[in-house]
């Protein structure tokens, strides 16, 4: 099984990553997911994380089949 990772807006450009699946091996938290896809890049200040489309923090536990997203502060409306 795998974890689906999504990035939006400036985060998509920062990591050059729109959507990707990663294996669960070695992944326990949102922070682990970041390290797995960020290629050593630091997480920008104000980065927002979501697990299964609900906001979550970096310590949030991630399970196989989850959808994890990273994005900057929202600017709609």
């Amino acid at each position: 099984m795998a974890i689906k990772v999504k990035c939006f807006a400036s985060m998509r450009e920062y990591l050059d990553l729109s959507e990707r699946e990663i294996g669960i091996d070695g992944i326990k938290t949102v922070a682990d997911v970041w390290r797995s896809v960020a290629g050593g890049k630091p997480m920008p200040e104000n980065t927002l994380c979501a697990v299964n489309q609900s906001q979550a923090n970096e310590e949030f536990t991630v399970n196989s089949g989850d959808e994890v997203a990273f994005f900057p502060p929202v600017t709609g409306g």
Binding site: A50, Q53, S54, P73, T75, G76
Partner: protein, 168 residues
């Protein structure tokens, strides 16, 4: 003959209250259609609405275009949550939120928020609260095209209660 006001608080389905669209948004047409379909004449006494429209300027620069990105699925879920919270906090007959995504031009409406209630305080309060909640919690992002053809992400929405802020 309904002589008592009794909106079915917190028990109704609010899924029709959220629409994410890619086509042009005509807020006044949306309101006409929605009110005819979903509101009961004589029940509501107050309708407060807000429309956010794309300007041709921002932070001192000319803006010629904009692309609205969103997180499909999470956007709708967040807006539903925000609307459910509003129904908890105020006695409302109905709420409508329509948000456009994709490419936009100056003068294009971006967002419509509308609240119907028996009395005006609830409609005013809920409409403004919904708009602030949308701007701080719903996953939309604006990318502006400036007059020199460069693009930039809008970095942050500001608080909408301060009279001197620069946001919309």
């Amino acid at each position: 003959m309904a002589s008592r006001h009794n909106p079915t608080k917190n028990t109704r389905d609010h899924t029709h209250s959220v629409r994410i669209i890619t086509e042009k948004l005509d807020p006044w047409h949306e309101l006409t259609v929605y009110q005819n379909e979903h509101l009961t004449k004589g029940q509501f006494g107050a309708t407060a609405t807000f429309v956010g429209t794309m300007r041709d300027f921002n932070e001192g620069d000319g803006v010629t275009g904009m692309t609205l990105e969103h997180y499909p699925g999470m956007t709708e879920a967040q807006l539903q949550t925000i609307i459910d919270e509003a129904h908890e906090q105020w006695t409302l007959d109905d709420v409508l939120v329509v948000h456009r995504v994709g490419p936009l031009l100056p003068g294009d409406p971006i967002v419509l928020v509308a609240c119907w209630s028996a009395h005006r305080a609830a409609a005013f309060d809920a409409c403004r609260h919904l708009m602030e909640a949308l701007k701080s919690r719903a996953p939309f992002w604006k990318n502006e095209t400036l007059t020199d053809q460069s693009n930039r992400w809008v970095e942050k929405n500001t608080d909408g209660y301060s009279p001197d802020n620069n946001s919309v």
